[in-house]
């Protein structure tokens, strides 16, 4: 059920000079959000910014009495994210959702490998919880520019999610892009289980910058593993009304057609997207 909630800010935790996690009292949305879905946020009362901006739901907040809200992981890059960064308890932020096609959750014995780049960590808290609840062995490959921009590492670890970290400056985990350890693990998995029929299933989920998603989809394909990627395109409405957030999706051997990523996605199969 789609709702527009004038949500009160419950808390705002600044994680770094750019990143924050904002908690919003929107239980009506949080209760029905599936991993990978998003909300359209209107941060201003005025016409600046005019349009809403999409955010993956990061966490669903629960108390003894039930669901009390949701959080968003935000990186300050524009007007809306600046307002979210500066927001204080008691402010209200309009939240429309839940929207979009969620990740498909798999069951054991298949394993889940989640690949996050930067603020692309956002959908993996709820996805990780949903996978663990089904008993699925789950790993998070998490890349950022520096170790100081790797957030919630303890949160994932304490829940039993295995972590593989990578930073571009080498200050934590592997030095370089997160795709490197991902490819190593895929290669190792293949050598461990040489025959396709003996392979345990691994499904790869990814969210992050588009070049990373392309690399993940490519590497997953190379090793014959399915992938689901969550894309972020410039979005005007989140409802399928404006046709701005389209992404080319494969259509036969050579063709493609534009699909609205707000309603056809944001989650797509990695092998169905025609990367630029």
């Amino acid at each position: 059920m789609l709702r527009d909630v004038e949500a009160r800010v419950i808390a705002n935790t600044r994680l770094s000079p750019d990143y924050n996690v904002i908690a919003l009292a929107a239980p009506e949305i949080a209760e029905v959000t599936q991993p990978g879905q998003f909300v359209m946020v209107k941060s201003a009362r005025s016409a600046d910014p005019l349009l809403r901006r999409p955010f993956s739901v990061f966490e669903v907040l629960r108390s003894n009495t039930g669901v009390k809200g949701l959080t968003l992981l935000s990186k300050r890059i524009g007007v809306t994210t600046r307002i979210l960064y500066d927001a204080v308890e008691g402010d209200t932020i309009a939240c429309l959702g839940p929207l979009g096609r969620p990740f498909e959750v798999i069951d054991p014995p298949a394993e889940a490998w989640m690949v996050a780049g930067g603020v692309g960590l956002a959908p993996f808290a709820t996805l990780g919880e949903a996978l663990l609840a089904r008993g699925t062995k789950t790993t998070l490959f998490y890349g950022a520019r520096t170790g100081a921009e790797l957030f919630y590492v303890d949160w994932f670890q304490s829940r039993g999610i295995k972590l593989v970290l990578a930073t571009e400056d080498g200050s934590a985990g592997h030095r370089g892009r997160v795709i490197v350890p991902l490819e190593e693990e895929l290669r190792e998995l293949e050598s461990r289980l040489p025959k396709p029929e003996s392979r345990s299933g691994v499904l790869i989920y990814a969210c992050g910058p588009e070049p990373m998603l392309e690399a993940v989809a490519h590497v997953a394909g190379k090793f014959g593993r399915p992938s689901q990627v969550s894309v972020e395109r410039t979005m005007g409405c989140g409802m399928g009304g404006c046709y701005s957030c389209v992404i080319p999706v494969r259509d036969g051997p050579n063709g493609h057609h534009y699909v609205r990523s707000c309603i056809g996605g944001p989650v797509f199969r990695g092998d169905e997207i025609v990367w630029d």
Binding site: G236, C242, Y243
Partner: protein, 318 residues
């Protein structure tokens, strides 16, 4: 949506009666069905669906929109499923939801408009045709009709000859005198005119010196254009007797009333629907409220009631 007893919100467009003056603007509401979860489509005066060509169209590559002060630019390029798939895939649901469907049609040639009008006149559940002769974002047609008085006259009269449906040309503001285009439309037998489509505009990323839109230029919509659109509706109201459907940056009941008072029989709402898909009830309740406060029982009695008695001399363009 509430309808107070004694409040008549209906609007007459040719033989068509709209139950209220609020129409979802073409290009801002998908095919209508996308919004069924947010608004009961049967409560809208009309649903103008996304512009349709005979054949499916891909549209422009991204980036397709960019936000500007109190507005947005778009250059979607009329991505669409084509008229046949619309009739098969979308119209049945619109019918079932009892929407008053206004189909926006777009052609590269006169024959294409005529063909579209023929096909849609035979389809069940189409209430009216809006002629898109004003899309600023595609080269190969539409706008060539909308920027020429003869072209406008010709396309309206050609379509009128083949359809019993009300015909509503949608006018571009990118002309010197929009009222003359309203007049050409009325002379050709149009049942109403709708205006304005978007203003041709552009935005540049100064760091990269690249245009923000892949198409370089696009159409400006949103509150930024509202005062210009109100002025153009006012000019058209004075130029023609047929109904005028006004649009351009309407985001509140106040804004809708401004257009109605300037001379719009009905209004379309586009960009505001992106910001708030639940905007419709607020608009209708606000209009009803206003009518009650001002003791007006029929919205038709409010149309064009702008009081210019003391300011007439200041109006220099007529």
């Amino acid at each position: 949506m509430t309808r107070l007893s004694g409040t008549d919100l209906s609007v007459q467009i040719g033989a068509l009666t709209l139950k209220n003056p609020l129409i979802a603007a073409s290009g801002c509401f998908g095919y209508g069905v996308e919004y069924a979860e947010a608004v009961d489509l049967s409560t809208l005066g009309g649903v103008a669906v996304k512009g349709l060509f005979l054949k499916p169209r891909e549209g422009h590559p991204p980036e397709r929109i960019v936000e500007t002060p109190s507005g947005m630019l778009n250059a979607i390029g009329l991505q669409g499923i084509g008229v046949h798939r619309f009739i098969e895939d979308k119209l049945p649901e619109l019918r079932q939801r009892r929407a008053t469907v206004i189909v926006n049609i777009c052609g590269s040639t006169l024959d294409e408009y005529v063909e579209l009008a023929r096909i849609l006149s035979d389809a069940e559940g189409v209430a009216a045709l809006e002629l898109n002769i004003s899309c600023p974002n595609i080269k190969e047609g539409g706008i060539t009709f909308g920027c020429s008085l003869h072209g406008t006259f010709d396309v309206v009269s050609a379509v009128k000859k083949v359809t019993p449906l009300p015909v509503i040309p949608k006018l571009t503001p990118n002309v010197t005198d929009v009222a003359s285009f309203a007049r050409a439309s009325a002379d050709a037998g149009a049942d109403a005119v709708s205006l304005v489509n978007t203003f041709l505009a552009m935005a540049i990323d100064v760091e990269t010196r690249r245009p923000e839109l892949s198409n370089i230029v696009g159409g400006l919509s949103g509150p930024a254009i509202r005062p210009i659109a109100v002025r153009m509706v006012y000019e058209c109201r004075r130029a023609v007797k047929i109904p005028v459907i006004g649009m351009g940056g309407i985001a509140s009941a106040r804004d809708a009333l401004e257009f109605i008072i300037a001379g719009a029989d009905a209004v379309q709402v586009g960009t505001a629907n992106f910001v708030d898909p639940f905007v419709w009830k607020k608009l209708l309740d606000g209009i009803t409220d206003y009518m009650r406060r001002h003791n007006i029982s029929r919205v038709a009695d409010l149309v064009g009631t702008i009081d210019t008695t003391s300011r007439e001399k200041e109006w220099i363009s007529s």
